[in-house]
Point group: C2
Chain length 147, copies 2
């Protein structure tokens, strides 16, 4: 990367001295191409794509569990005890519809089902790490600053 000052310091040519027309100047680290220059939450904006992928309460927790390998419905319930069967089913169906997990049923009695991350779902792993990292940073900074 040529210029790297990712953490601090906004420095876009926005705040100019004698601005007649301040056209939007795009920060191409933040928004590297045209598809991110949306002026509304359009579904094909990359950020929206990601937010849609992880949307819904409990979703990141379900994904986190599946990052360790396939799990059955019951195993998911055991690991997320306060998640109701209805909402768990909702989340699993959502994730399946988004192509992030695959559902396999093994016939027999009792029925067994297993849920696995797809290749697409595994793409979310760095994001989860970043969500975690960012939350830690926010919390630490909040602790260090007076309210």
């Amino acid at each position: 990367m040529g210029h790297s000052d990712s953490q601090l310091g906004p420095r876009v040519g926005n705040q100019t001295v004698t601005d007649t027309v301040t056209d939007t100047v795009w920060d191409d680290e933040l928004v590297p191409d045209e598809r991110g220059r949306t002026s509304a939450p359009e579904p094909d904006c990359p950020v929206e794509v990601t937010l849609t992928a992880i949307s819904g309460r409990w979703t990141t927790l379900v994904l986190r569990e599946l990052m360790g390998g396939p799990l059955s419905f019951g195993e998911l319930r055991d690991r997320l005890p306060s998640l109701s069967a209805k909402v768990l089913t909702d989340r699993l169906r959502d994730l399946e519809a988004r192509g992030l997990i695959a559902r396999r049923t093994h016939p027999g009695f009792p029925v067994r089902t297993s849920y696995t991350l797809t290749d697409l779902g595994r793409v979310l792993r760095p994001l989860l790490i970043e969500l975690y990292r960012t939350g830690n940073t926010l919390a630490a900074l909040r602790r260090s600053l007076p309210r």
Copy 2:
């Protein structure tokens, strides 16, 4: 209880896990410390902290705009034309309450207000980049895979 057979599915890609998961084994890249081992969306889980910070429709777009420097209410409206004044106000109040932006009113007539990211808000910059990156990857992979 016992070991279930887990010959199904590929295992976690990045690191070599040589055994099957019996009890919950925490992936310490994904969840490096105890505060992330939550079994429910508790507010102090780092991931939840982050999700709360960016929650709400239009929020990431407002943040994106402010990443370039302070803007007035009207400038935000100009850049996000299909966002109503009511919802924009909601978002700005939310972000202020979360400590992510600061609001300053400059007296005079007409009244001027400016919204600026706080140090806390700037923490979100790498996350926005990651949200974007991930969305691009998801979209590309979806295009490359047939249904």
